[in-house]
C-alpha cells in the first residue's frame, strides 16, 4: 500500500488523537472528574496506527486493557468513546463497558479486554470466520508482552497456524508487564522467537516508528489475505505512563522513561521523517493538532452534558432473547 500524503496525514491525525485523548483522560481522572481503571496507550501510537492503516470494514481487531489506541486507530469515534468513559448513556457501549471493555462492533473492534490474553483467541475466531466465509478479511490481535505468557496466546497461535488462518498477532512489547520488567518473566530475548514453536512466520518492528510498523504489518497482512497464514509481529515499544492512571511508577527508573520520550517519541519521529522527506508540511500537522484538541474539548463538553444511563438499563443487553 502506498503512503500518499492523504494517508500520512490521516495516520498522524490518529496518532495525535490517541496521544491527546490519553493526556486528556489523565487530567480528567486526576481532577476527579472521571472514574474507572484506566490504562493509557501514550507512547505506543505507532503500533496501533501502523497496523490499522492496512485494515478496513471487513477486518477485525481485538484489544487489551490498554485499548483506547486500538479503538481510535480502527475508526471508533472519540465522542462516543469519551461519553463511554464518563459513563454516559451516549457512550459507545451505553456506559456499560467503560475503559477496559470499550468496543464498537460496527467499526470491527472486538473490544478492549480486562483479561490479559483473552483478545487473542477472539481475533483468531474472527480470522476463522473470515476464512470460512471467504470475506477476504483478517483478524488482528493486539496484546502485550505479558500476554505472551498466557495459555490463550500459545493455544491460539498453534490453532491459527494449523488452520493457516488469516490472522495477525501483534505483540506490543513495551518492556513492562504491569510493574515487572519483561526480561524477568520472558526468557527469550525477542518474543517473536515464540513463533518458531508453531512454525509461524514472524517479524520484528520498531514500535516507535510508524513507517517500520506500517511496512512489516503490511507484509504480514498481505500474506494473511493471500492465504499464506498468520504472522507474529513483535513491535518494540514503550509505555510512556504507568500501568494505570495513578500508578506511582516507583518501580521504573525515571531516566529510562525520559530517554524514550526524548529520543523516540513516535509522533516526533513521524514528523521529522515525513517533513524532512517533503511528504507533508509541518503546518499541516500543526493544523491537525489544533483540530484534534478542539475535537477532544468538544467531546468532553458533550460527554459531561450527556444524560446518565437509565437505571432500568442495568437489566438490558444481557441476552438477545429470553
Amino acid at each position: 500500500m502506498q503512503l500518499t500524503r492523504e494517508r500520512l496525514l490521516d495516520a498522524y491525525r490518529k496518532m495525535r488523537t490517541i496521544r491527546s485523548f490519553e493526556e486528556k483522560l489523565q487530567e480528567l481522572v486526576l481532577a476527579g472528574k472521571m472514574a474507572g481503571f484506566l490504562h493509557l496507550y501514550a507512547g505506543e501510537e505507532a503500533v496501533a496506527v501502523g497496523v490499522c492503516a492496512h485494515l478496513g470494514a471487513r477486518d477485525w481487531v481485538a484489544s487489551t486493557h490498554r485499548g483506547h489506541g486500538h479503538c481510535i486507530a480502527k475508526g471508533v469515534g472519540v465522542a462516543g468513546m469519551m461519553a463511554e468513559l464518563f459513563g454516559r448513556r451516549t457512550g459507545v457501549c451505553k456506559g456499560k463497558g467503560g475503559s477496559m471493555h470499550i468496543a464498537d462492533m460496527d467499526a470491527g473492534m472486538l473490544g478492549a479486554n480486562g483479561i490479559v490474553g483473552a483478545g487473542i483467541p477472539l481475533a483468531t475466531g474472527a480470522a476463522l470466520t473470515a476464512k470460512l466465509k471467504k470475506t477476504g478479511g483478517v483478524g488482528v490481535a493486539f496484546f502485550g508482552d505479558g500476554a505472551s505468557n498466557q495459555g490463550q496466546f500459545h493455544e491460539s497461535l498453534n490453532m491459527a497456524q494449523n488452520w493457516k488462518l488469516p490472522a495477525l498477532y501483534v505483540v506490543e512489547n513495551n518492556g513492562w508487564g504491569e510493574f515487572t520488567p519483561t526480561e524477568f518473566v520472558v526468557p527469550v530475548s525477542d518474543i517473536a522467537e515464540r513463533a518458531r514453536s508453531y512454525a509461524m512466520h514472524a517479524a520484528i518492528a520498531d514500535g516507535m516508528d510508524f513507517f517500520d510498523v506500517f511496512e512489516k504489518a503490511g507484509e504480514a497482512i498481505e500474506r494473511a489475505r493471500r492465504g499464506d497464514g498468520p504472522t507474529l509481529l513483535e513491535c518494540k515499544t514503550y509505555r510512556f505512563s504507568g500501568h494505570y492512571v495513578g500508578d506511582t511508577l516507583a518501580y521504573r527508573p525515571k531516566e529510562e522513561a525520559e530517554a524514550w520520550k526524548q529520543r523516540r517519541d513516535p509522533l516526533e519521529r513521524f514528523e521529522r521523517r515525513a517533513v524532512e522527506a517533503g511528504l507533508v508540511d509541518a503546518d499541516d500537522l500543526r493544523a491537525i493538532d489544533g483540530e484534534v484538541a478542539a475535537q477532544l474539548d468538544a467531546a468532553v463538553r458533550a460527554a459531561e452534558a450527556a444524560p446518565l444511563p437509565d437505571v432500568a438499563d442495568v437489566l438490558t443487553d444481557v441476552y438477545v432473547s429470553g
Binding site: 468496543a103 464498537d104 483479561i115 470466520t129 432473547s321
Partner: protein, 334 residues
C-alpha cells in the same frame, strides 16, 4: 411408527440438520472428525470420544474441525467466530474441563453483549458431557452445570431424553445467545422415539412429564428418570407424584415450578450434582421466596454428597441420587 434412537444419535441428527439448514454452523472440538475424511489411509472417523459426531465430517468436510487439545483455544476461538458471523458448536468433551477454559465463557461469551451496550451477538453453542455413572471418577464425572447456569449472559439446557435432546440442541444452535448444552451420561445412552425432521423446543420451558397431585419431583437431565422411577414406587402406596423436567437451567422456568408446587404443596428436587450453591438450592430458594404460601412441608433436596465423584462402583452408586433416596425424602416429609 416410533423411530427409536439413542440420545447420541438424536444429537447427531440435530447437528446434521443445523449444518444442512445454515452454512454458518460449524462444529469444532477434539476429535469431532477424528480420522474422518482420511479413508484413503484406511482409517475411519471416530466422531468424538463417544462417537456422537460420527458421519458429519463426510457431509460437511469444511465445517467439522478437529482441534488440538486446547480447550481454552477452542472456546475462545469459537466466541470470536460467533461474534463475527459464524454460528459455532464447540465441543467441550467433558464439562470437568471447564477448569482449563472458563474465561472464554465467563468473561467473554457471557459478557460481550452487555459490555458492548448490546452491539454484540454471540450465537455459540457449547456441547459438553456431564454427570456420573460411567466409572470415570472425579475428573470426568462432574455435573458442573450450576457454574454456567450461575453466569448472567449464558443459557444452560440439559435434555432428559433423545427427542428433547434433538429439539433443544436445534434451539440452542439457532439461539443468538451463548448456550451450554449438557449431555448427561445417563441420558446419552438412553433410547427413545425421536420425531423426524426439523423441530425445536423452546429454551426456558420446563415440562410436566408425569402428572400427580401429592408431591412435585423436580428433575433434569439424568435425574428425570430417577424421579420417574421414584414416582412409580410412590404410586404403589398411593402417593401420586408429579414429575417436572426442567429442561432448561438458565433461564429457569419459575412459573412451572411454582405452578406445580401450588398444586401439590410439597416439592423434592433431584440433582446429580453436589449440594452447595447449585440448582437444587436455587429451586429450594425459589420455593421459599415465591412459593412459601404453597408449602405444606419443607422443600427437600436429593443431591450427591459434598464430595468428589468416586471411582469404585459401590462408591459411585452410593454417590448418585437414586429412586430410593427420593422415595425416602418424600416419606420423611410426612
Amino acid at each position: 411408527m416410533p423411530r427409536i434412537l439413542s440420545t447420541g444419535q438424536a444429537i447427531n441428527e440435530a447437528l446434521a440438520i443445523a449444518m444442512e439448514s445454515d452454512p454458518d454452523v460449524i462444529l469444532l472440538g477434539e476429535d469431532v472428525a477424528g480420522g474422518g475424511a482420511r479413508e484413503a489411509e484406511g482409517t475411519d472417523e471416530m466422531g468424538g470420544v463417544l462417537g456422537t459426531t460420527k458421519g458429519l465430517v463426510k457431509r460437511f468436510p469444511e465445517r467439522v474441525l478437529d482441534t488440538p487439545i486446547s480447550e481454552m483455544g477452542i472456546l475462545g476461538t469459537a466466541v470470536g467466530a460467533a461474534a463475527t458471523g459464524l454460528r459455532p458448536v464447540a465441543e467441550l468433551m467433558f464439562i470437568d474441563f471447564l477448569g482449563v477454559c472458563l474465561d472464554p465463557l465467563l468473561n467473554q461469551a457471557a459478557k460481550l453483549r452487555y459490555m458492548f451496550g448490546g452491539k454484540a451477538r454471540v450465537p455459540l453453542t457449547v456441547r459438553t458431557v456431564c454427570g456420573a455413572g460411567m466409572r470415570a471418577a472425579a475428573q470426568h464425572s462432574q455435573s458442573l452445570y450450576w457454574m454456567t447456569a450461575g453466569i448472567p449472559g449464558l443459557k444452560t439446557v440439559i435434555p432428559s431424553n433423545p427427542a428433547d435432546a434433538k429439539g433443544l440442541l436445534l434451539a440452542a444452535i439457532r439461539d443468538d445467545d451463548p448456550v451450554v448444552f449438557c449431555e448427561a451420561k445417563g441420558v446419552l445412552m438412553q433410547r427413545g422415539d425421536v420425531p423426524e425432521g426439523d423441530y425445536t423446543l423452546p429454551i426456558g420451558q420446563a415440562k410436566v412429564v408425569r402428572a400427580g397431585g401429592d408431591v412435585t419431583l423436580v428433575g433434569f437431565g439424568a435425574t428425570v428418570a430417577v424421579a420417574l422411577a421414584a414416582a412409580d414406587a410412590l404410586a404403589q402406596d398411593g402417593t401420586q407424584a408429579e414429575v417436572l423436567d426442567l429442561r432448561s437451567l438458565a433461564p429457569l422456568d419459575e412459573a412451572a415450578i411454582l405452578g406445580s408446587l401450588e398444586k401439590t404443596g410439597r416439592l423434592v428436587v433431584v440433582d446429580e450434582s453436589t449440594p452447595r450453591c447449585g440448582i437444587a438450592s436455587d429451586v429450594a430458594a425459589l420455593c421459599v421466596d415465591k412459593g412459601f404460601d404453597f408449602l405444606n412441608a419443607p422443600v427437600r433436596r436429593v443431591t450427591a454428597p459434598h464430595t468428589p465423584v468416586p471411582f469404585a462402583a459401590i462408591l459411585e452408586d452410593a454417590f448418585r441420587p437414586d429412586a430410593a433416596k427420593v422415595v425416602a425424602a418424600v416419606r420423611e416429609m410426612g
